[in-house]
Amino acid sequence: MTKFHMNRRGVLKGAGAGLVTLATPHFFTKGAWAQDFCNNPTGSTVTFGLNLPLTGTYAEEGADELKAYELAVKHLNGEGDGGLLNVLKPSALKGNGILGKKVQFVTSDSQTLSDVARAGATRMIERDNAIMITGGSSSGEAIAVQSLCQEMGIIFMAGLTHSNDTTGKDKRRYGFRHFFNAYQSGIAIAPVIGEAYGKDRRAYHLTADYTWGWTQEESIKAATEALGWETVATVRTPLGAGDYSQFLTPVLNSGADVLILNHYGNDMVNSLTQAVQFGMRDRQANGKQFEIVVPLFSELMAKGAGENIKGIFGTSNWHWALEDEGSQAFTKSFGAAYGSPPSQAAHTAYVQALLYADAVERAGTFYPPEVIKALEGFEFDGMGNGPTLYRAEDHQCMKSVLVVRGNENPTSQFDVLNVVQVVDRETTTYDPSIFGGDLGPAEPVPMCK
């Protein structure tokens, strides 16, 4: 019979063997991740790929997004006043980069063109080893880049994209959108314009001829027709048309008494300015004052349109004058850095950068499937839109939406919009299945090398 002896050396050996055994699955898994996903950052830095329209129809938004990303990277690296890092709840961000790696970025000018955006994203993934692609001010770009990112196993945090398709029929497992969409614009704006202009109206749509324009036209048409409005005509205009006179003249004698401009960026500035030059805001039609509605606009566009935006209704994702802690903190950081308040494009870009970083911290890895899991169904607050859910079913953020109106009596050059109503998250939440689509698999395809 052998006697069982316990001594210090035996205990240490046993404990060591036990620890190795316990750590083995984790060790192997970590090793697998280290080699099996695209652009796994092995050095002391991690690179974001910023895909921005710095030229083209949406260049103003792109420039503001770039400022926001620069600020976000500073804050993530522990520089500056910390911005929204201090107010995001819950937050795993520490202000020391992401998982201890310093954040840096590369940029690419997408020129507001989908093919250029896709080529730029490819370059940033393959040449610059970007771990995440973000940015964009056009849904055409967003959908093209999102699809590419799904193929390459790189997470895409969309910037300004408002088409229903981005998180609808074209949604992807690797794509996430913080910005609201056209359907939510329709839900938010319809009651307000119904009350302001009445239920007996005849609307004429001019629509940018690409995915965003189509879905916004569809959503606003459905929402206004539900009010009792009649749609006289829906006319498509080329993106970046410039001169809208040939599209505006038919409106004058069409029997319509409301013009709905489904245009964004410089297109909206041009079409609205030219509509006003055609005297549309001074007209009477069907015994009523002729009205113009721009379902989506930003403060940058309002500044561009100048006097013409006064009194025009629209919707926005966010506005710098909101009084919650997050909005105030971001406006203060951005204003101090750049001398002007941030636009909604800047806000969504900044928030997306932080949400990605936070998800990586919570996942404890850059491995995309784990980051995706951390983002899906994530409930957070403090970013300026109230309690927000990153919905798992379609990767669309569910949050409040603003109905805005061009300020009739601005007190400064920045005071161009008034928030008319904050439409709460419950009202703007919809069934994700109505737009179809399939997120696809989370497992990455290691094809970027």
């Binding site: 001169d243 300015t273 030059q277 001074d282 100048g306 203060k332 101090a336």
Partner: protein
């Protein structure tokens, strides 16, 4: 229905004005120097940026800090005051208000200089080269000018407000004795059309009724014979290149309230203007003007809802369809000289 057609006709005149002005300059250059100048659209854009630069000069501001007022981000507010208004009071405000038409004063010398420099510096070296090389070098020049403008003014458009007196719409229906408000059209677009008529008329009068113009026309018809007579036709052609640049530049200045200019503006008009020149007849000044207005009007009618219901997208291709038909049926263009482009 009459109102709809009439409004589209006015739109056509408005579009045609821009097409005709650019095509006129292109034709002058081709007719005199035999150069296919792909940089001509860039001259239109350069003119537009004369308006931008002039307004920037007029709206230079003094910036002072008001420590008592705070910005929304908690910093002392900047108070800006335009210098011109500080110096000249109400007259300064009038200058700013009329900055677009006043910038023609800047555009004329700038465009003359730019045109002459372009011709003497680069284009004269390509007179005897094939058209393909001329196109390559002038296209490259257009890109260089565009990039220079982008470097100085940035990539974004620069809206230029029209004078307040010329904002809004004119009630043309009421002028014609019809019901008020039925036919209204933006005042500035009417101004642009009248401006184009004056400039086109001026160029034709200059060529028709001055000795200089007579020599140039003679040179266009037979350059060698004019040279044998001891006339320095090259110098006159250089001046004509400058005049073509001025016409393009002035057209660009007055177009800025209709379409905020950016560095791509020239390219947007260039292709259509070449089609206009081909349809009108290479080297034919009346042809360029006639084709400019004709294609502008056709394009506007093609964009009518009633037309597009039968032929979707026709408004985007009508100009090119017409060009194809003209080139097949009458290769020298509507008013082109026999033998030009017919070989």
């Amino acid at each position: 229905m009459f109102e709809v057609i009439f409004l589209q006709f006015l739109n056509g005149l408005d579009k045609g004005s821009a097409y005709a002005l650019i095509a006129l300059g292109l034709t002058i250059v081709f007719g005199t120097l035999g150069v296919v100048n792909f940089a001509h659209g860039a001259l239109f854009m350069l003119g537009a940026f004369c308006a931008v630069a002039f307004r920037r000069l007029l709206t230079l501001e003094t910036v002072t800090i008001d420590p008592e007022k705070m910005s929304p981000w908690g910093q002392p507010l900047e108070v800006r005051e335009p210098l011109v208004q500080a110096w000249f009071g109400d007259f300064g405000a009038v200058l700013v208000n009329y900055s677009v038409p006043l910038s023609l004063l800047l555009a004329v010398p700038v465009m003359l200089l730019a045109g002459v420099a372009m011709e003497r510096g680069i284009i004269k070296h390509f007179y005897k080269r094939p058209h393909a090389e001329q196109i390559l070098v002038t296209f490259g020049l257009a890109i260089v000018i565009g990039e220079l403008i982008k470097a100085f003014f940035g990539p974004n458009p620069h809206p230029q407000p029209m004078p307040t007196d010329l904002r809004g719409a004119a009630d043309i229906g009421a002028w014609l004795g019809m019901q008020a408000g039925v036919i209204t059209y933006p005042l500035w677009r009417l101004v642009y059309f009248l401006f184009a008529v004056v400039i086109i008329g001026g160029v034709f009068a200059f060529l028709q009724f001055t000795t200089f113009g007579m020599v140039v026309r003679a040179g266009m018809a037979d350059r060698e014979t004019v040279g044998i007579l001891g006339i320095d036709i090259d110098r006159r052609f250089t001046i004509m290149f400058g005049i073509a640049a001025i016409v393009a530049g002035m057209a660009g200045v007055m177009y800025t309230p209709l379409l905020p200019p950016n560095y791509t503006l020239g390219m947007e008009f260039l292709v259509i203007s070449f089609v206009v020149v081909v349809v009108g007849g290479m080297g034919s000044l009346p042809g360029a003007v006639a084709a400019g207005f004709l294609l502008g009007i056709l394009q506007s009618f093609a964009s009518m809802t009633q037309v597009k219901a039968f032929l979707p997208g026709i408004d985007q291709i009508i100009i090119y369809l017409v060009a194809v038909v003209i080139l097949l049926v009458r290769p020298r263009g509507l008013l082109g000289r026999r033998g030009v482009m017919e070989a």
